[in-house]
C-alpha cells in the first residue's frame, strides 16, 4: 500500500470563548492516500471542518489553539510550518472549496480575476495573459459555458451552480495534490447538487488529487467517497471503506445515521432519527460522548466512565470503531444493504 499523502495524528484543537473552552476536535487521527476520496461525515459542530481548517492555518489562534497533534504532509508537519511556507502550500498543493459560493467569492472582482489571482499567487512569473488563458481552460473543464465571455463577469452574474463550478476551478487551478471540499453542495439546489458531483469527479480526473470530502450528506458520500471517517463530538468514532460504513457499520452513531435515512426500497411509515440532542462542546458528557443517545449502551457503566478507543475490526484492520461494544454490533445485522459491494 502506498504511503499516505497526508497523515493526521491525535490532532486536538480548543477554542477559548466567553462561555468556556470549546473542545472542537480531540485526538483526531486519519490518513489520506493518493488518489482516493476520503469522506468526513458528522453533524454541525462535530468538528469535521475544524481539523482541516486548522491544518491549513485558517483558524485564527487565538481564540483557537492546537493542543497537540501532527498533520504530516510529506516530510513536513503542517501545524509547525512557518506561515510563509504554509501559504505556499495553501491554494497550491492543497486547495479548498467552501460551502456557500455566493459569499465565498468577492463581489467586486470578476470571476476571471479571482481565478487568475489563484494562479498568479503560486506562479508569480506566469504573466496576465497566460493566466487568463489558463483560467478560461479551467472554466471549460468545470463546465461553464461560454467561458471566454463569462470570465469577465462578476459573481452576482453567475447562478449558484456556476459559482460553485468557478470555485472548483479556482481550487484545481494549481493542480493540487490534495483537494478539500467543505460541504460543497449544501448551499445548492438538489438538481444542481447532482451536477456539481459530476464536476467534482471531472476535477478529480483532471488533477488526480486526493480529496477530502466533508459533508453531512450521506448520499454524497455514497457517490464519491472511497473511505469514510465518521465524527461525533469532535472525535473520530468510526473509519472504514464506504461499503462497510453503509452495509455493516460498527458504531452506534453510524448505525443510527444509517437507520435514519429515508429509503425508496423499504416500506417505511416513520423516519427513525437518533434521539436526543448533540452534546455541548464545552462540557461534553463523561465517558463516551454518545452514551446519552445510545440505544446500544443499555446503560452500562463503562459507557459513562471510559472514553472508548478506536479499535480495528475484521481483516486488515482497515475498519476501526470507537465503541466499547462494537463486537456486539458486528453480530447483529442492523441494516439492509444500502450500497452494493462490487466485489
Amino acid at each position: 500500500m502506498p504511503d499516505p499523502v497526508l497523515s493526521i495524528d491525535e490532532l486536538t484543537v480548543e477554542f477559548e470563548t466567553e462561555d468556556g473552552i470549546v473542545h472542537a476536535v480531540t485526538d483526531v487521527t486519519y490518513d489520506l492516500f493518493p488518489g482516493e476520496t476520503l469522506g468526513i461525515v458528522g453533524e454541525s459542530g462535530s468538528g469535521k471542518s475544524v481539523s482541516v481548517m486548522t491544518m491549513l492555518g485558517l483558524i485564527p489562534q487565538p481564540p483557537g489553539r492546537v493542543v497537540r497533534g501532527e498533520a504530516r504532509y510529506g516530510e513536513r508537519d503542517l501545524l509547525k510550518l512557518p506561515k510563509k511556507e504554509l501559504r505556499n502550500i495553501r491554494g497550491g498543493e492543497i486547495a479548498m472549496i467552501f460551502q456557500d459560493p455566493m459569499t465565498s467569492l468577492n463581489p467586486v472582482f470578476t470571476i476571471g480575476d479571482q481565478i487568475s489571482e489563484a494562479i498568479e499567487t503560486h506562479n508569480p512569473d506566469i504573466g496576465d495573459k497566460a493566466a487568463k488563458k489558463r483560467t478560461i481552460e479551467l472554466l471549460e473543464v468545470v463546465g461553464v459555458p461560454f467561458a471566454e465571455r463569462r470570465v469577465n463577469q462578476y459573481p452576482h452574474e453567475f447562478s449558484g451552480g456556476m459559482r460553485q463550478r468557478a470555485m472548483i476551478a479556482m481550487a484545481i487551478a494549481n493542480e493540487p495534490r490534495i483537494l478539500i471540499a467543505d460541504e460543497p453542495t449544501t448551499a445548492l439546489d438538489v438538481t444542481i447538487q447532482a451536477q456539481i458531483v459530476e464536476v467534482m469527479k471531472a476535477a478529480q480526473d483532471e488533477t488526480h488529487a486526493a480529496t477530502i470530502l466533508i459533508t453531512h450528506d450521506l448520499g454524497l458520500i455514497a457517490e464519491l467517497a472511497d473511505r469514510v471517517v465518521v465524527m461525533y463530538a469532535g472525535r473520530v468514532v468510526e473509519l472504514a471503506g464506504v461499503y462497510e460504513i453503509f452495509n455493516s457499520p460498527r458504531h452506534p452513531y453510524t448505525v443510527g445515521l444509517m437507520n435514519s435515512l429515508a429509503r425508496l426500497d423499504a416500506d417505511l411509515e416513520w423516519l427513525d432519527p437518533i434521539p436526543g440532542q448533540p452534546p455541548s462542546m464545552i462540557s461534553p458528557p463523561p465517558g463516551c460522548a454518545f452514551h446519552p443517545r445510545c440505544v446500544h449502551s443499555q446503560g452500562r457503566a463503562i459507557c459513562r466512565t471510559d472514553i472508548p478507543e478506536l479499535r480495528p475490526f475484521g481483516e486488515g484492520g482497515k475498519h476501526v470503531s470507537a465503541c466499547h461494544f462494537a463486537e456486539e454490533l458486528a453480530a447483529k445485522h442492523v441494516v439492509g444493504a444500502l450500497v452494493e459491494d462490487p466485489s
Partner: protein, 324 residues
C-alpha cells in the same frame, strides 16, 4: 453608464423642481414678505403697498412662484425684499468660503477616519483601538459649537500667555493678508480651527463605521477564500477586505452632507466666517424670506449634486449596482 448618468440628472432636476415648490410653499406658510415689510420701522402703509406692487407681492401664490423661479434663472435669485440688494453676489461669495471649509474638513476627516477605522479593526482590542473608540464616543457627544468655543478659548489664551498666534479664532483673513502664498497661508491659519472642528464630528462617526465595516468584511467568507488561496495577509487585507469595506462608507458620507452643512452653519457663526451658514443665520434673524429661500435652494442643489457623485462613486466601487 452614460444612460445611467443621464437618467440620474433628469431625476435630480425633477427633485430640484419639487424642492423649489416645497420651499416656496413652505416659506409662504410660515411668513410673508408683506408682513416683513410692515415690520420695518418707518415704513408707511403706502410705502409698503408701493413696494408690494413693484415686486408683485400681492399676486396669488402661483404667480409669485413663477416670478421667483424666473428671478432665479434670469436675475440670479433676484433681490431682497427691502433693500433691493441683489442676493446672488453675497451668496456666491459666501458659498465659495463655505465650500473651502467643508471640502477641506471632509477630505481631512475621510483620510484620518479611514486610517483609524482600518487600523482599529486590524488591531482589535489593542490600546489604539480602545483609545480611538473613546475619542469617537466623546467626539460624537460634543456639541459642535461648544468644541468651537473651547478651541477659541484655548488659542486665545495661548496668545495671551505666550504671545504666539498659532491659529486665528475669527474671520477668514487678517486685515491685510497680502497676496499669493501669503494670502493662502493667512487663510489657512484662519480656517485651521474651523476645519478641525468640523472634521472632529465626521471623524468620530466615519471611523466607527469604517471599523465596523472592516471587521465585518475581514470575517467574511470571501476573505477566508482569499486566505485559502494562499495570498499573504497584506494582499488579503488591502485588496480584498479594504475595498469592500469602503463601499458602505461612501453612502454614509453622502447622507452625512446634511449634518455637515448644519455643522458649518454653527461653526461659521462661532468663528465669524463669511460663509453660507452665517449668511443664513443673518437672513433668518432679519426676517426677509427671499435670502432664506435662496439659501435653501442652493443647499438643495448641493445635496443633489453630492448624492449624484456618491451614487456614481458607489457604482464605480460596487459592480453589483452598475447594471441598473
Amino acid at each position: 453608464m452614460l444612460t445611467y448618468v443621464i437618467r440620474r440628472l433628469l431625476y435630480s432636476t425633477l427633485v430640484l423642481f419639487a424642492a423649489s415648490v416645497l420651499v416656496f410653499w413652505g416659506m409662504n406658510l410660515v411668513t410673508s414678505p408683506i408682513g416683513f415689510l410692515r415690520m420695518q420701522p418707518g415704513y408707511s402703509e403706502q410705502t409698503v403697498q408701493n413696494i408690494a406692487d413693484r415686486k408683485h407681492l400681492n399676486d396669488p401664490i402661483y404667480e409669485r412662484y413663477g416670478y421667483w423661479v424666473k428671478d432665479v434663472f434670469t436675475n440670479k435669485f433676484g433681490t431682497g425684499t427691502v433693500s433691493d440688494l441683489p442676493i446672488w453676489p453675497d451668496l456666491q461669495r459666501a458659498m465659495g468660503h463655505t465650500l473651502q471649509l467643508i471640502i477641506a474638513a471632509e477630505l481631512l476627516a475621510i483620510l484620518i477616519a479611514v486610517f483609524i477605522g482600518v487600523y482599529s479593526a486590524l488591531r482589535q482590542y489593542s490600546v489604539f483601538d480602545y483609545t480611538a473608540t473613546t475619542f469617537s464616543f466623546v467626539g460624537l457627544a460634543m456639541p459642535v459649537f461648544w468644541l468651537a468655543l473651547m478651541l477659541q478659548v484655548l488659542f486665545v489664551n495661548i496668545y495671551l500667555w505666550f504671545d504666539v498666534r498659532i491659529f486665528y479664532v475669527a474671520s477668514l483673513n487678517s486685515v491685510d493678508p497680502g497676496t499669493g502664498i501669503h494670502f493662502v497661508l493667512d487663510r489657512a491659519q484662519h480656517l485651521a480651527l474651523p476645519i478641525i472642528v468640523l472634521a472632529v464630528a465626521s471623524i468620530a462617526q466615519y471611523s466607527r463605521f469604517m471599523r465596523a465595516s472592516m471587521l465585518e468584511v475581514v470575517n467574511s467568507d470571501y476573505v477566508r477564500t482569499a486566505r485559502a488561496k494562499g495570498l499573504d495577509e497584506r494582499k488579503v487585507t488591502m485588496r480584498h477586505a479594504f475595498r469592500n469595506a469602503l463601499i458602505p462608507l461612501v453612502t454614509l458620507i453622502a447622507l452625512n452632507f446634511g449634518a455637515l452643512l448644519g455643522g458649518a452653519v454653527v461653526t461659521e457663526t462661532v468663528f465669524a466666517l463669511d460663509g453660507m451658514g452665517l449668511y443664513f443665520i443673518n437672513a433668518l434673524n432679519a426676517g426677509d424670506p427671499y435670502p432664506v429661500m435662496a439659501f435653501l435652494m442652493v443647499t438643495a442643489v448641493f445635496v443633489v449634486v453630492f448624492n449624484l457623485i456618491a451614487d456614481l462613486a458607489y457604482g464605480w466601487l460596487d459592480p453589483r449596482v452598475r447594471l441598473e
